[in-house]
Structure formats: structure tokens, C-alpha cells
């Protein structure tokens, strides 16, 4: 079998107004089954995807944000959030869902999946990838 490729899924859209977010999340969950090296990046309005306490009950829409919590079980445990994008939107890390994963090599210790990175760090991360997909 060929070596695992480095995949990055970039999310740049808010969760409810378009289907980019939910479609992107579905593709990530499907591709996670193929044992590739997967990470996600949240840039611009994409950071709103991870906003905690989303409750769509009054709008009659489906709330897919809890599905982000499943990513850890699929070994998608690096979610990079651009610091500058949060700041422009008046948000901090505390506004985001506390997503975690369990490390089987470390006695199933629960570790955070969200990494707040600055623009320069994100630029380097994008450069490292083999394949980049945008939603």
C-alpha cells in the first residue's frame, strides 16, 4: 500500500447559511476511513463552525455541529483555527466547542483537538500538505 498522504480540509464558511460546512464535515468523516493523515483548518467565517451552543431547534434546520465531536473517534484530531479570524469576529478559544480525542498510545488520555494558530503558522501548515480540499 502506498504511503499515507497529508490531507487538509479548509473550511471558510459559516455553519447555517450555506451547505459548505455540513458537506465538508461529511467528506472528512468518510475520508477518515481511508487511513490518511488528515487535518482541518478553519479560516474566516469557518471559525463559526466550531462556535459552541449552536441550537437550530427554532429555525427548523438540522443542527450538525455535534457531529464535530465524532472527529476524534476517526483520528481526525488536529483542527487548526486561525487566531486572526477569531479576533476579527470578537471570539476567543472559550467560545468554541471543547473538542477532544483519546490517545490510545497514552492510556486513552483525553487531549484537545483544537489548535489556535496564527496566520504565519497556518501558512506553513498549508505548505506542508499533499492535498488540500476546500469547503
Amino acid at each position: 500500500m502506498s504511503e499515507a498522504k497529508k490531507f487538509m480540509y479548509i473550511n471558510r464558511h459559516a455553519p447555517c447559511g450555506t451547505v459548505y460546512g455540513v458537506e465538508g464535515l461529511e467528506v472528512v468523516l468518510i475520508s477518515a476511513a481511508f487511513e490518511q493523515d488528515i487535518c482541518m483548518a478553519f479560516i474566516g467565517d469557518g471559525v463559526f463552525q466550531l462556535k459552541q451552543n449552536q441550537d437550530t431547534a427554532d429555525t427548523g434546520m438540522k443542527n450538525f455541529s455535534p457531529a464535530y465531536r465524532a472527529l476524534g473517534d476517526y483520528e481526525v484530531n488536529r483542527l487548526y483555527v486561525e487566531h486572526e479570524s477569531l479576533e476579527e469576529r470578537g471570539l476567543t478559544e472559550d467560545d468554541l466547542m471543547p473538542l477532544t480525542w483519546e490517545d490510545e498510545d497514552d492510556d486513552w488520555a483525553e487531549k484537545p483537538s483544537i489548535y489556535i494558530v496564527d496566520r504565519a503558522q497556518l501558512s506553513d501548515l498549508i505548505e506542508e500538505q499533499d492535498i488540500i480540499l476546500n469547503f
Binding site: 459559516a14 441550537d55 431547534a57 429555525t59
Partner: protein, 100 residues
């Protein structure tokens, strides 16, 4: 006149255009991704705060809730309304301009 804005101000110029053209005394209702314009401490907070001196700004509650935005995150002076409030605003104004 009632103006509605349904796009995020970070993605589109709709809010900026709306606020630059809405006459003093107008009602401006933020709906769908437009409710992100109501966030305090954001890059667009100054634009909206300034407009509050001229127009009344409303944000649709169910759309805020769907996006996880609680009232304490909003710019003071913005009134949160429900679907019933949306209907009332539509009826109270003779014309509606949707900034799509």
C-alpha cells in the same frame, strides 16, 4: 422602510451598503448569516454602533440561537426579535428592501 440583511459582514458588503443607504429612522433587521453583524468586539462593531444613532437595528433570535450567539455577545442597542417580531416589522413598514 424595513431593510433586511442576510449575509455575514465578513463575507459580503451587504451590511455596509445597507447602512450607507438606509435613511435615518429606518428599521434594519439582521437575519440568517446577517446576524453575525450584531457581534460585539468584531471588526464590524464600529460600523454598526455608529449606525445605531440613525436607524433601529434588530436581529432575529432563532438565527442567533442556531449560530450559538447569546444576547450578551451582541452590540448593546440591538433588539432581538422572534418570527412574530419579523412579521410586525414587515407590517409596520410600507416597503421592504432585502439586501441579498
Amino acid at each position: 422602510m424595513l431593510h433586511t440583511v442576510n449575509k455575514s459582514p465578513f463575507e459580503s458588503s451587504s451590511l455596509k451598503t445597507c447602512l450607507s443607504l438606509a435613511k435615518s429612522g429606518s428599521d434594519v433587521l439582521l437575519i440568517e448569516d446577517g446576524v453575525y453583524g450584531a457581534l460585539s468586539g468584531s471588526a464590524h462593531t464600529a460600523l454598526l454602533t455608529e449606525a445605531l444613532g440613525q436607524v433601529r437595528v434588530y436581529a432575529l433570535g432563532p438565527d442567533l440561537k442556531a449560530r450559538g450567539l447569546s444576547e450578551d455577545k451582541l452590540i448593546p442597542g440591538i433588539k432581538v426579535v422572534g418570527y412574530d417580531g419579523f412579521v410586525e416589522l414587515a407590517c409596520a413598514n410600507d416597503k421592504i428592501q432585502n439586501w441579498l
